[in-house]
């Protein structure tokens, strides 16, 4: 039977040979003028600032466009003027004038004027994409925005709101929505009156520190530094972002030096690369909270004592040391640390006796069964398993329902859940985002916990012009929510990137539109 053996051995030999041949082709380090990043970017559905509402796309926006104002990345409690150099408010508090910074050029070479800024805001409201609600809050609607946003003179933009809001609230919202696009370029790609929306979904018309060189959806994003950037050009010439969906693969890539930064390592992988002398961590607490939403429509969860009991059935400290080490900080109030009025007290600990007492008071001394909807990803799964374990000790039996993210979220949006376990991120860096979300809409609606009094209190805090008073109002709202809300808030997310030692200056901010590449230096 020799021939069979021969052919098999020959074939095996070929394979081994192929492996050995590969040896000569092992890779070198990344190019010195290029930042290479492994990142899960498949949440991007559009690159148009009028549509952008996802994590990665808002990061893209922050690096390719200028906004009138933005949060100061070096000191996040302050604003930084960017495309606008200053502003004034009218005496009645309803009209804002922004002076456009002279000398800003778009990547196309066109000069930025108030005309572009006005067009951008009008377009943002008219396209009515997912983030448009942020401007709708100020009475700017599709029908009136043409009149409310005006060009006062070539370098002055005027915005009128329907009422007098607190300027800090208005400016914090603008820090996300006031992206300035190149009117001439965008309108040259207009189709059927879409204000260039179709084209902008995969193209760029900004003035930021980087321009878009190539975009392959779900695959890669390539940026080139803008050498003429008004605030000084970026230190690296190119940024290459590769969509690497598997975090274990990201870990190998960064350890091997084939990427400079790995963005999506989980807790275990971060632990694993900790000992690697070539890697350091860059991290920042995010304005994103891990929480459970309890639907008060449920016969058990509608009882406030039962809800309070459950707040004592989470092993906050244990989780902090294990699963959330490096990726979360214990946090129990609805405003993330870093926002105006954030109350960082953590009154709840795992306390079985107290929980049992509260359950007795609620009339459920033996506990109850409820379902919990969880996205089928390792973080959520592990957290749900821990919760199931600690709650079972008091007889609260969590029935875990795993599904993909869209399915759990859609069910939650339709208010068809008992308990939803997930994350909520602020839409903009102002306490109103979360106060409104948790106490009024949408989360309070989903959990059937709407009241006119709470809605009024949220509005009053939003409109308070004195910052200190405003902060105190949010403090009070948070203390009240700890007592009766249907939310068990557990952790504030920390975003941690694994970065090669030779890379400095990568900034991770509290929101994704403050993750910046322009200060990156490769030594």
């Amino acid at each position: 039977m020799k021939p069979f053996m021969r052919s098999a051995v020959a074939a095996l030999g070929l394979t081994v040979g192929a492996f050995a041949f590969g040896a000569g082709l092992a890779q070198a380090a990344t190019p010195k003028d290029t930042l290479v990043m492994a990142y899960v970017i498949d949440d991007i559905i559009s690159l148009d600032p009028a549509d952008i509402y996802e994590f990665t796309s808002s990061e893209y926006m922050a690096n390719t466009y200028d906004r009138l104002v933005m949060i100061n990345p070096q000191k996040t409690s302050e604003l930084k003027f960017a495309a606008a150099e200053s502003y004034t408010v009218s005496d009645d508090g309803k009209t804002y004038d922004f002076k456009i910074r002279p000398g800003i050029k778009f990547h196309s070479g066109n000069d930025m004027t108030a005309e572009d800024a006005a067009f951008s805001l009008i377009r943002f409201v008219k396209i009515n994409g997912n983030p448009a609600f942020i401007m709708n809050q100020f009475g700017l609607t599709k029908d009136n925005v043409d009149k409310m946003v005006r060009v006062k003179d070539p370098m002055t933009l005027e915005i009128e709101t329907d009422a007098a809001y607190s300027p800090s609230f208005f400016l914090n919202c603008l820090s996300y929505t006031s992206v300035v696009v190149d009117k001439k370029l965008v309108m040259s790609h207009e189709k059927d009156g879409d204000m260039g929306n179709a084209w902008m979904k995969t193209n760029e018309a900004g003035s930021g520190p980087f321009s878009l060189k190539a975009y392959k959806p779900n695959e890669s994003l390539v940026l080139d530094a803008n050498p003429d950037y008004w605030d000084g050009p970026a230190k690296v010439k190119h940024v290459l972002i590769k969509n690497v969906t598997e975090s274990a693969t990201q870990q190998l890539l960064v350890q091997k030096g084939d990427v400079d930064i790995a963005r999506n390592l989980n807790g275990d992988q971060l632990k694993a690369v900790k000992g690697d002398g070539n890697i350091k961590f860059v991290d920042s607490p995010k304005a994103t909270l891990w929480y459970m939403g309890l639907n008060t429509k449920n016969q058990y969860l509608g009882n406030v004592d039962a809800r309070q009991a459950m707040k004592y059935l989470v092993d906050y400290d244990g989780l902090q040391k294990t699963q959330f080490a490096g990726i979360g900080i214990k946090h129990q109030t609805f405003l993330p640390d870093g926002q105006l009025g954030a109350d960082n007290e953590t009154p709840f600990t795992y306390d079985l006796a107290k929980a049992k007492e509260l359950l007795k008071k609620a009339g459920f001394p033996n506990g109850f069964d409820v379902t919990i909807d969880v996205t089928n990803k390792s973080e959520g799964r592990e957290l749900a398993a821990s919760l199931q374990n600690s709650m079972a000790k008091a007889g609260v039996n969590l029935i875990i329902r795993l599904a993909d993210n869209k399915t759990t979220l859609t069910k939650y949006r339709a208010s068809e859940h008992d308990i939803y376990l997930g994350q909520w991120g602020s839409d903009y860096q102002d306490p109103h985002s979360n106060a409104d979300g948790y106490l009024n809409s949408p989360l309070a609606k989903r959990n059937q916990w709407v009241s006119p009094e709470r809605a009024a209190a949220v509005t009053a805090a939003r409109d308070e012009k004195d910052s200190a008073k405003r902060a105190q109002m949010y403090m009070d709202l948070q203390k009240q929510a700890l007592q009766d809300s249907p939310y068990i808030i557990m952790f504030q997310q920390v975003e941690t990137a694994a970065v090669r030692k030779n890379v400095d200056g990568f900034i991770i901010g509290p929101t994704f539109d403050l993750n910046l590449y322009r200060y990156v230096v490769k030594n």
């Binding site: 039977m1 021939p3 069979f4 053996m5 052919s7 098999a8 074939a11 095996l12 394979t15 192929a18 492996f19 041949f21 590969g22 040896a23 082709l25 092992a26 890779q27 990344t30 190019p31 290479v36 498949d42 559905i45 559009s46 509402y53 009515n128 997912n130 983030p131 609600f133 179709a198 979904k201 995969t202 190539a214 392959k216 959806p217 779900n218 695959e219 390539v222 290459l240 590769k242 969509n243 690497v244 969906t245 598997e246 274990a248 693969t249 190998l252 091997k256 084939d258 993909d404 993210n405 869209k406 399915t407 979220l409 859609t410 949006r413 339709a414 839409d427 979300g437 809409s441 949408p442």
Partner: protein, 338 residues
């Protein structure tokens, strides 16, 4: 003669059309009866009722389902598969982009599977119950039963991270990526057409690990099937007769028995190839290989209905094509099928 041939071709085409129509109908109906609302999945957390209605209309979901299906068929007839909700690109462009990646990987995988799997299977059959047979069967069993995901990560860990013999994930080194002009979409072909041999070898080196993995997987199946098919032939009387007549064993196995094994084996190979062409999601995930498996999976999770439908059409067509080809090959291999 010509008329009868035309009739035969017409018959094949008609059967392809009915199959595709059935497939489309089933996929379409299932996607419309999912418990989750695709509009709620798209519009974000703060959408007003009017915005939800607007998006529903944009997606054409406001019409009754039969009407939606007719619209969809009409568009397909014009070559319009719709626009993906996640990539904002025409689905057809997306598919033209992702399918060659899977095709390239699957073809190398099946070639390895056939070239190694058939001789190993024959060898195991001839040496039935010997140590060699046990080893081959064990190797096959491991390949068939170990999670491909785990094998992939281990392969990368050993050959890429530890030994440095092979490049990491992706179809090319990151530095090369934007230098290839896509013509066929198949890296090894495009780099050659471009006349850039460095890039060609780079593409080949990136193929080795994932293709070996898929090759191992299909080898496991093909060798097991070859072994059992061969064993059943070697028990037949014509083999005994040939042996009695003094025909060399080599000739008996490779000529007489193999001739009969070929026909069912062809089905095995065709099915394996079809499976690989569907796209191995896990392999594509681990190796950051943006093929059709990953594309369809993401589309399903993202409730991207046009992309799901488009992907289904491609996979359906591939199966039909492979089946038709297999039928044609049968006629050459098996005189009775003529």
């Amino acid at each position: 003669m010509i008329a009868s041939q035309a009739k035969a071709v017409g018959k094949v085409l008609a059967s392809i059309l009915t199959t595709m129509l059935g497939l489309l109908l089933v996929t379409f109906v299932i996607s419309r009866f999912l418990p989750t609302d695709p509009v709620l999945a798209i519009v974000g957390d703060h959408a007003s009722e009017s915005r939800i209605a607007e998006v529903r209309e944009q997606l054409g979901l406001n019409h009754p389902i039969p009407v939606q299906f007719l619209y969809y068929l009409g568009n397909i007839a014009r070559g319009d598969l719709g626009v993906s909700l996640r990539t904002a690109q025409p689905v057809l462009d997306d598919l033209i982009h992702v399918f060659p990646a899977t095709l390239e990987l699957a073809t190398w995988g099946i070639l390895l599977g056939v070239v190694l799997g058939i001789p190993l299977g024959v060898w195991a059959a001839v040496k039935k119950d010997s140590a060699i047979d046990h080893v081959i069967r064990f190797v096959g069993l491991v390949g068939y039963s170990s999670p491909i995901f785990w094998l992939g990560i281990m392969g990368l860990l050993i050959f890429y991270a530890k030994l440095g013999w092979l490049p990491g994930p992706g179809r090319l080194d990151f530095g090369y990526e934007d230098l290839v002009t896509p013509i066929t979409g198949i890296m090894t072909v495009d780099t050659l057409l471009q006349g850039d041999y460095d890039m060609f070898w780079n593409a080949v080196s990136h193929l080795i690990l994932p293709a070996s993995l898929l090759g191992y997987f299909s080898l496991a199946y093909i060798s097991r099937m070859t072994r059992s098919l061969m064993l059943s032939q070697l028990r037949q009387e014509y083999v005994l007769t040939a042996r009695v007549k003094g025909v060399p064993e080599r000739r008996i196995v490779w000529k007489h028995a193999m001739g009969n094994v070929m026909v069912p084996l062809l089905t095995v190979v065709a099915l394996s190839y079809g499976n690989l062409l569907e796209g191995s999601v896990l392999t594509e995930t681990v190796f950051t290989w943006h093929g059709i498996g990953l594309y369809i999976t993401n589309a399903i999770f993202g409730q991207d209905l046009p992309a799901v439908m488009g992907g289904t059409i491609v996979v359906g067509l591939v199966y039909i094509l492979i089946n038709t080809l297999t039928d044609i090959l049968y006629r050459f291999l098996d005189p009775r099928a003529k």
